[in-house]
Amino acid sequence: MATGPLRFRTPHIEELPISQSRQSAGFAWVAVSTAQDDPAKNWGTTNRKRARASLGGQTEQQKEALSARVQRETERKIKELNSDNSRDVVIDIAKKPGQSTGGALKAGKTTGTKKILASGKTFAHYLDDEEAEIARTGRRDGDADAPAAAQRASKTPLARRKPRADSSASHSPAPLVAPMAPPPIPRLPTTDSSAAPIPLDGLDDDDDEEEDDEDRVPRMPTSVEMDALLNAPPLTYNQARSAPPPAGMPPPRRFCETCGYWGRVRCLKCGAMTCSVLCKDEHDQSRCLKMYA
């Protein structure tokens, strides 16, 4: 059970309940979390890998945490995969021949559009701006939240404050006026909407909400709930992102870097997986990180 060089100078022995530590007469191996925690164990190895391997192995959590660098690599790769422009290309839009007013029209007709046309913001900028805005106040496009924080601290002493009709400076008056005439949902003219159009006799519209037999039919939402759903504000960009799969899922699959089959063998130097000895040889020759060679 060699986990490393024998170290017997252990005045302090702790039995930690992990699977790697085994019972043995007279002494017990101790697993300490990192080299930094126990200088007695650290023989001066700055090589984190050796320190990690020699100190009793890792738990699943440590493996996860260890891969911060790996995580950053994957994030970078994913961002590259999702990048819009193939490479950093600067393409000037040539002026269309025959433009009479040339420059003025190209720049935009009003100051607003001029600014929009000239802005070099990328999507990341807009997203950050929006996140900052949300962090600062509630969602600023007039959704139902009234950001109370936006009201200026009043200097009027409490006794003299007049009750302010709900007019905070940040609100545009539009949401407070009566809601604009809702465009009717276009639908076919229904002759008699209450009668059940399905020719099933014995059908009673009104008390079918309380169907409570053993085969439970899930309850339909009431009109109030439907209204709330329909009028709910749109989610922000980050809120709408799909969530990670539930934790019980199997770990992500790894594939061979050379041929694409399942990855079975991990390269010791760079951590890439290959499927077989042939692919591993090819990886070592051409694709492995050369700095270790």
């Binding site: 393409i91 805005e133 465009p183 439907m226 699959r253």
Partner: protein, 542 residues
């Protein structure tokens, strides 16, 4: 382009709708544009939709820049550098987008492909589509550009999935809805270029809390395919080529592990025969003789490949360059269903759909599971619909009905929906914002209006109709309790993984509210079309 007329000479009264509507489905990959009119009654077909690449491309071989529709005139697509004004589905770079739009529908001069999209914005309504969950400032920019810069008379900006509700339903049904009436409930899976969104729609209106986005789209697949091909042949700079390869050759495999076994060439000690039905040789275009690549089954004889590369043995003596594609064919689209393959921490498409359903009230889940419509260019991959349906089937109770269908024209479906909305004057007038209203009320009001901030506008009878549907289901439950072929109780007792639904039986889902043309379509009656129909035999008859 200089617009000679000023606004004051338009003949329209400021608050009236123009006769023609331009429907612009502004996607990240292509723009689908076309006209429709609410005055004419001729149905518009998808042939009048122009698909225009939404990009600015620079070719280092020709040393020319192709903007938007000019790309069709390009002869040599090799080494074409793209720049897209639409980032992640939203128009970010309005300078580029304006250039493309100008060449799309402002230019009155005849274009190379003879299209007749020229129009005068002041006399045209515009229906513009955008991706869901846009940052507010981008929406503001879009509104301002449309009104101020282009000067459209009236305008409606909507999220692209919502327009699909107005398109004809891809499920076979006995009633066809007239233009302007949206389908009652539909769960729309839009597999687009930048991402894939799942949007539940109710009468054409999106249920915002349940919209989910998976950040894998056609673009991700193309880039991943580029990386994989570049292991043997460097194609990092060839966007167009790799897109064509993806469209030609990639498919979604229903049995991933088995296909992966078939394409393995074996280890050192157990060499295997690769399956030539899966592995293909793709002949690359050289833009002189071959304009578009094609593929053929893998030729295992290496000498043949070498000969053909030298020009021996091919017709006309041309040199062929061949790329062999094996498991890339299906591992790339597998990303849509398992994004963790590249380390992305998001659930796959099936998981995203389930998350979206989770955000809905329980009673609606069955209704939406039975009406899943798939649109978007990426959904053209063979096997996509079947795979999605299979995965959903495995995640949900046995008794629930699942119907997944791809629209007849996934790329143009949003545009079709916009066209049908525009042909109904009442519907159009209800949603559109005229320039004068914008000037009076300001951009915040307009944005709220587009986001659907209509007050309690749904007619109260609607939930009753839904309840009526449920009620009809209640009766069959009783009737089939005795000889349950459905296994109703079994379904209730079955403890599947986070089972979304507890609805025990598959009952007929009526998805039209009109009693006049009420037709209960039971899945047993629907013939197989593009959907793998749920195989549950139903005992209820309509």
């Amino acid at each position: 382009m200089a617009r000679q007329k000023s606004l004051s000479t338009t003949v329209l009264p400021p608050n009236d709708l123009a006769s023609r509507t331009l429907i612009l489905d502004n996607g990240a990959h292509t723009i689908k544009a076309g006209f429709s009119s609410h005055l004419s009654s001729t149905p518009v077909s998808t042939t009048s939709c122009h698909v225009i690449p939404n990009c600015i491309a620079r070719s280092t071989r020709d040393r020319r820049t192709y903007i938007g529709p000019e790309l069709t005139t390009c002869a040599d697509f090799g080494d074409l550098a793209y720049r897209r004004p639409v980032e992640k589905g939203y128009v970010v770079n309005w300078e580029g987008e304006k250039a493309i739009w100008e060449r799309t529908f402002l230019a009155n001069a005849a274009k190379n492909d003879g299209s007749v999209l020229g129009c005068d914005p002041a006399e045209t309504n515009l229906i513009l589509s955008e991706a869901p969950n846009a940052p507010v400032s981008l929406q503001r920019n879009a509104d301002e550009m449309v009104f101020e810069e282009f000067g459209f008379g009236a305008y409606y900006r909507t999220i692209a999935p919502a327009l699909n509700a107005y398109a004809p339903s891809p499920f076979p049904s006995t009633s066809t809805s007239p233009a302007g009436i949206p389908l009652e409930c539909m769960l729309l899976v839009d597999a687009g270029h930048s991402h894939t969104t799942v949007t539940p729609l109710y009468h054409g209106r999106p249920l915002h809390p349940a919209i989910r986005r998976l950040e894998i789209g056609g673009k991700t697949l193309t880039n991943r395919l580029k990386e994989l091909i570049s292991r043997t042949f460097d194609v990092h700079r060839e966007d167009h080529l790799v897109e064509e390869i993806k469209e030609d050759v990639c498919y979604v495999s229903p049995t991933f592990t088995r296909d992966l076994e078939r394409t393995w060439k074996g280890g050192r000690y157990d060499g295997r025969e690769v399956d030539s039905s899966v592995v293909v040789d793709y002949v690359l275009p050289d833009y002189e003789h071959i304009k578009r690549g094609f593929y053929r089954p893998h030729d295992t004889d290496v000498m043949n490949l070498r000969n053909r590369a030298l020009g021996i043995g091919t017709e006309t003596g041309r040199r062929e360059h061949v790329v062999t594609l094996g498991n890339e064919r299906f591992t790339v689209p597998e990303l849509l269903f398992t994004p963790s393959d590249i380390g992305m921490r998001q659930a796959g498409l099936c998981g995203t759909v389930l998350q979206s359903l989770d955000a809905l009230p329980e009673g609606l889940r069955q209704a939406y599971l039975a009406n899943i419509v798939v649109v978007g260019g990426t959904s053209l991959l063979p096997g996509f619909v079947a795979r999605l349906e299979g995965e959903l089937r495995a995640s949900v109770d046995e008794g629930t009905v699942i119907r997944v269908a791809r629209a007849e024209s996934p790329v143009k479906n949003v545009w079709m929906g916009g066209v049908r909305l525009a042909t109904d004057e009442a519907a159009l007038r209800a949603v559109v914002v005229t320039r004068q209203e914008w000037a009076e009320n300001g951009e915040g009001w307009v944005r709220r209006r587009f986001a659907g901030k209509k007050g309690p506008g749904i007619e109260m009878s609607t939930p009753k109709k839904l309840l009526a549907t449920v009620a009809t289901c209640a009766i069959p439950i009783h009737s089939i309790k005795a000889g349950a072929a459905m296994g109703a109780r079994k379904a209730v007792e079955s403890t599947r993984m986070p089972s979304m639904l507890s609805s025990p039986t598959s009952y007929p889902i009526r998805y039209r509210t009109d009693p006049a043309t009420a037709a209960i379509v039971t899945p047993a009656q629907t013939p197989d079309r593009t959907l793998g129909a749920s195989s549950d035999p139903l005992t209820t008859a309509s």
